[in-house]
Assembly symmetry: C2
Homo-oligomer: 203 residues x 2
């Protein structure tokens, strides 16, 4: 096997990349100037050296040296709420919105609806431990901020059920993001499930 | 800017990759085991060392050492025909079909319909030089095997027009791939352009 095929096989492991696009990536790299290719190889090789995973929220952050916590977990913030999100990019979205000032926890994925071993797909044990630690610090609400789709719904139900005994023990409430019309939605084009939630959550 | 953003910006240069997918690639790499990431960085860094571009047909091939020609250009084949293809993967497709035994030339792309400087998008000068060399060796036909879409049509017209003086000088004919129904096509669902060609090329 040539190194074209070797590299294509590695690219095929990337999310959403099939055989054809993997090959296209390799030919694209072959056509680039050597400086670009060198930079890419170096950035990939050094990614793990400069990026660490936060011990508290599990998101990836630029390593700073002294602490094992990301800048957000290290700063003096509201300890009463914990926002559970699916993946790293969701953190940026929430942070940018400026509408949340509490703590974060990255669940690391969602659970496929037919999954037999749900706990293998997400950081549920780590979340339980985080809540137990949080309870000492005044945690009073866990917000499950997962996707509004079947997989997100299934994951939310599983997480809520698993957290319930611990939440009851420490009187912590488990909430979810409100459902309804997204800003910019025209009523004419909204699906019936969205409409159902919008009617239920009317204010 | 963190190395997450740095690497995401490099991935955004990849064909068909936008901001979101570039970031997803970085988080995917952060979640992989170090062995995978190291292999990827190494394969990318060494790609150019093990792969060369053929001096005659311009396709990329595993470097073998002695010659600057790929295995297909180096072998003893039919010198009378030259098949002009758009890109490297097209070579594999033709080769696999087993229906062509002559020489190849990789044009390196197609020309966008509104392009002002068509010669900058494809290897037209290299093709002219190749044909001139080929004429000495008995080249009698150049087959333009480009895509059957507007950009392919535009490129084919441009290439045919540019080659004409040279082709006439050496009595080389310029042909294109036949157009008609693809195998498996149902007449009911074929577009009118395909049908037009199929009727014209009936046999």
């Amino acid at each position: 096997m040539s190194s074209i095929d070797n590299l294509a096989q590695l690219f095929m492991k990337f999310p959403g990349i099939g055989t054809r696009q993997a090959k296209r990536f390799v030919y694209f790299l072959l056509a680039q100037d050597p400086y670009f290719v060198e930079s890419l190889a170096r950035e990939i090789a050094e990614l793990n050296k400069s990026i660490a995973q936060c011990e508290s929220c599990f998101r990836f952050y630029p390593r700073t040296g002294v602490t094992n916590l990301c800048s957000t977990c290290a700063e003096d913030a509201d300890n009463t709420t914990l926002l559970v999100i699916e993946k790293d990019p969701d953190f940026d979205t929430v942070k940018r919105s400026g509408s949340y000032t509490g703590r974060y926890f990255v669940l690391g994925g969602t659970i496929p609806v037919l999954e037999r071993d749900p706990s293998s797909k997400i950081r549920i044990r780590e979340l339980l431990a985080r809540i137990e630690r949080g309870a000492v610090d005044g945690l009073s609400e866990v917000i499950l901020a997962l996707s509004a789709n079947p997989e997100g719904d299934f994951t939310r139900e599983y997480v809520a059920k698993t957290l319930t005994p611990l939440a009851e023990k420490f009187s912590i409430s488990i909430t979810t993001l409100g459902r309804g019309l997204s800003t910019g939605t025209e009523l004419e084009y909204s699906d019936s499930d969205t409409l159902k939630h919008a009617l239920k959550n009317r204010g």
